[in-house]
């Protein structure tokens, strides 16, 4: 039983974080808060990938004669790319938030809905 929990704990926390991020994006009305939620979601996916590549007793995939067991380098490469793309999308989202604030004077979703209804 304990072994079953230890075998899946990383995945479960990744899913918990994913759902917290998801809920923040869907249920919170503030646009900056939504972007922070998106970042939480994103990092949870990174955690899921990196957890899958870990090998027990392995070391970082930097070749050296003293080690023979290495963790899987492929998830690392994929996630390196994803982190940098992630910050690009965050910057784009924040730019949209600034632009919306300039045009509407608010970044709360329900107020934006009201303003859109008026015009």
């Amino acid at each position: 039983m304990l072994q079953a929990v230890l075998d899946h704990y990383n995945y479960w926390i990744a899913i918990l974080l994913m759902m917290i991020g998801f809920y923040t994006v869907v249920a919170r009305g503030n646009l900056v808060k939504k972007i922070v939620g998106l970042n939480i979601f994103q990092t949870s996916v990174f955690l899921l990938y990196i957890s899958m590549g870990k090998v027990t007793g392995g070391t970082a995939p930097i070749l050296d004669e003293r080690f023979s067991v290495y963790s899987n380098p492929i998830p690392h490469v994929l996630i390196l790319t994803a982190i940098v793309v992630g910050v690009a999308t965050t910057a784009l989202g924040l730019a949209l938030v600034v632009r919306i604030r300039e045009s509407y004077g608010t970044i709360e979703e329900d107020e934006l809905d009201l303003l859109d209804g008026e015009t």
Partner: protein, 197 residues
Amino acid sequence: MIITLIDIALLTFMGATAIAILRLRSLFAVVMLSGIYSLLAASMFVVLDAVDVAFTEAAVGAGISTVLMIAVLALTGERERTPSHTPLLPMVVVVLTGAALIYATFDMPAFGDANAPVNLHVAPRYLNESFAEVGLPNVVTSVLASYRGYDTLGEVTVIFTAAVAVMLLIGGRKGDDAGIKKEPADDTEPDDDGGTA
């Protein structure tokens, strides 16, 4: 054993930080906590042997993202308004999705299993051959810059596109005076901007 304990402690901290981010209404505190969250994620990546990912996350996630968000908060204000109702539907959707995903994890190989399918296909070839073929001790660098160089080219394209989009959205405002006001629009009628722009 000690590694497992560190692993569990860091993951639990990450969960607690995420819940605090969800519940807090002060956006400044939320941004600070998201920096802490990224730093915890970076420490987690060190424990999971992904050192390259760890320092990228620490620099980009905890550093640049936090700076960008603080800059935006300076322009938009730092209080989140309390909603009048508690949304029930999102909670139901999130719990159902989470339950389905947890159910799916029981089919996954155990954490750290060296014989998991993900560790058997291409990874051994990279680990065994990359030093002879590329000549770098760091396998992650070999794969990133050589075997999967096109991925990196695509990544650069995405960043370029995002940079162009950000500049189109908020850059070059000096030139166009299409009714965009510099001061915070708290006291102005929001319809003014929409009407003239």
